[in-house]
Point group: C2
């Protein structure tokens, strides 16, 4: 890994660590969207944005934006950033690394006297994580015109609406339509990988070619509740045995699809609920939730077809019945812009850093932004793939390598010939 | 099925139905041990016992006993009966059928002018079902000297001890040792099968040759909590996949052991708890509880050895680890007296009723009594094997057939030559 990078590793690291200090002390690292603690973090960031010479504003969707005007306003905006909110008991890097890396890019450009043709905007998108209001990616939805009146009316358990919370954050729900952007020439987001692909292959940065679509499927397996003592084995219809067959079949099918050269695929059964769940009763029902993630729509469709076509037969062979297959949610996949991916790969190479293209198995603000602008993401390694927990960790050099790749990428995007 | 049985089908049925009326109206059929409703049921039974000419008493262990003295007191007591408490939302027959059938046997003997050499005691054993005090088979434990000072000190959530509750039922915890019996020549219990063996083979009565031992084993499968999106399939250690392999392996092993000519065997995994049990996280741990029931100690030992020897390897092949195998409980099996079983079989045959020997997969007061006396049980069919629920059902003729077999068996036991 190179040490003479075009960004200031220490300065970047200090800002990440300073934000980490702004946490619910009882549950580090917690800075939930829409809380007073979150506003404290925002105040810190706004000060740092301003100190970097950026023109700071909050847009109607509650995004904190620091703007560095370009020499050729008509060329549009290169927007870079991520989010500064956390899950409860989350980590110091998820989101924050991307916001601070973007800020560091702006600072490094200034320090090196580099003017851009494009306007550069550093963004801290509001409320990316799932939250008590029931809508995630609030800010990035706003940027794409996808924060609907229905969503603005969602309430948290205390009764506050998203619209009210947005106002508290400095946004303006009445003028939400004005948050929609049509001037973004490129959107780049740096994020820790939240997986172990880069770490295990000792690769400096991941070039995200797509953000997976996520299909959640609920399965209901039915058997018959019988006395566990008095019902001979051949007379049983055990829902848990049927569920076990389904779990193993889904695993096998996921491994098969992941092993094909058909893009990233993963499927997980993370939820199981059995009734009556008593030691002396043969299970009557088992509810399972499949979380399937695919980089290609076609792969996901094959998995969904397999689930509908094959799973009922597999469960039936175990003498129980798959009586319901319900789609709980189905989020579209988001493709990165191939030109931007190529630029990022070249930028890494020019810095002597290793890279590989990969899919993002998790959702990000960048997935939203892909609806209105060419998008790409830069992944940086994190220790053991841990994320959404206090143990989440990345080395200063790992983040600054990603920031350096973003710096180089921004320069190359700015200089690239405009597409027809 | 014969219709001219030596017992009164209607009278027997009327008493079963009358007891069923004594229920928590909100949750038929509920008459929990130690409650006011239970005492109401007991008052009804005591009146019926007395009306049948029995000398009624409550022993120190809280058992309701109706005694019919024999002509040859030295020969000991033939004790017949079951229990009148229910599970919450239970049925009308579990326990009750056996108490009322025993009462009907005493009535029929009187009506037919049949004196016995043995004393005959009709018993309603206290608190057979699992209850909030944490000790089941309270009365039958007392009859065998197995109601320990520790058990008498158990408390229900409200703080009342078993000893206090026993006193409320008319028992006497201070004189509990006097409840222990050494004068029982034979104990017979009639009970609904709570399974579908008799019904599916259209057999009138089951002759229980043994009551299974029950081994409860807790398994802990450990994997690693990873992001369900960002962790490629080959990098996962999924505790639920390991658990699914264990569930199927236990099922297969149970079927193999049940299929051998080595007595009744069944094993069930009725409990599964997965953590964190979230759709987007690869399961980190899965807790399973195996309920294994065997008629022969040797079969149970083979199952336990297989669990310790083979399951860890099977789970490990699924890339997770079986880190704990704990025995939660281990109740001994109880063998019926072969001579009593032969008598019951002959009694059924003499009445023109079909019978088969079988194991009881559930526990009963008779299992306790086997520690101090020759014991046997008579099973009667019940619809679809349903039990511990409001749908529990048996036809009047099915119960009275069992009662008639008990009547005939009591006569034969009374006349049989005493063993050396």
């Amino acid at each position: 890994m190179r040490t003479n990078l075009p960004v200031n590793t220490q300065r970047l690291w200090d800002d990440v660590m300073a934000l980490a200090e702004i946490t619910d002390p009882a549950a580090p690292y917690t800075r939930r969207a829409f809380t007073a603690r979150f506003l404290e973090g925002r105040a810190f960031l706004a000060k740092r944005f301003a100190a970097a010479g950026l023109a700071v504003r909050i847009d109607p969707a509650g995004n904190l934006i620091g703007r560095r005007p370009g020499r050729a306003p008509g060329k549009g905006v290169i927007m870079i950033g991520s989010h500064s909110d956390t899950v409860p008991g989350g980590g110091r890097f998820d989101g924050v690394a991307g916001v601070v890396a973007a800020l560091e890019v702006a600072r490094a450009l200034d320090e090196q006297g580099l003017a851009l043709d494009h306007d550069l905007e550093v963004v801290d998108c509001l409320a990316e994580e799932a939250n008590v209001y029931g809508v995630s990616c609030v800010g990035s939805r706003g940027l794409t015109g996808r924060l609907t009146p229905e969503m603005l009316a969602y309430t948290e358990p205390g009764g506050e609406t998203v619209a009210q919370a947005l106002s508290r954050m400095g946004g303006d729900p009445v003028r939400i339509a004005e948050a929609r952007r049509d001037d973004i020439a490129a959107f780049l987001e740096l994020h820790i990988e939240q997986g172990r692909v880069l770490e295990s292959a000792a690769i400096d940065v991941g070039v995200v070619r797509s953000i997976v679509g996520i299909l959640r499927i609920e399965l209901l397996v039915e058997g018959r509740a019988d006395h566990a003592g008095t019902t001979p084995m051949p007379l049983r219809s055990d829902a848990l045995v049927g569920a076990a067959e389904a779990i193993l079949a889904v695993r096998k099918q996921a491994e098969a699809l992941a092993g094909e050269d058909a893009g990233y695929f993963a499927a997980t059964i993370g939820v199981i609920e059995v009734a009556p769940n008593a030691a002396n009763v043969v299970p009557a029902t088992a509810r399972l939730v499949i979380d399937a993630r695919a980089e290609r729509r076609e792969t996901m469709q094959r998995f969904a077809s397999w689930t509908e076509g094959e799973l009922p037969r597999i469960v039936a062979q175990a003498r129980s019945r798959l009586t319901q297959i319900s789609i709980l949610s189905d989020s579209s996949l988001a493709a990165a812009d191939p030109r931007l991916c190529a630029i990022i790969t070249e930028a890494a190479s020019s810095l002597g850093l290793s890279s590989r293209e990969m899919a993002s198995g998790a959702g990000h603000d960048a997935a939203m932004l892909s609806r209105i602008a060419p998008m790409a993401m830069i992944f940086t390694p994190c220790r053991e793939g841990r994320s959404h927990c206090a143990e989440e960790w990345a080395e200063p050099e790992q983040i600054s390598a990603g920031a350096a790749v973003m710096f180089e990428s921004v320069l190359r995007i700015d200089r690239a010939p405009t597409e027809a």
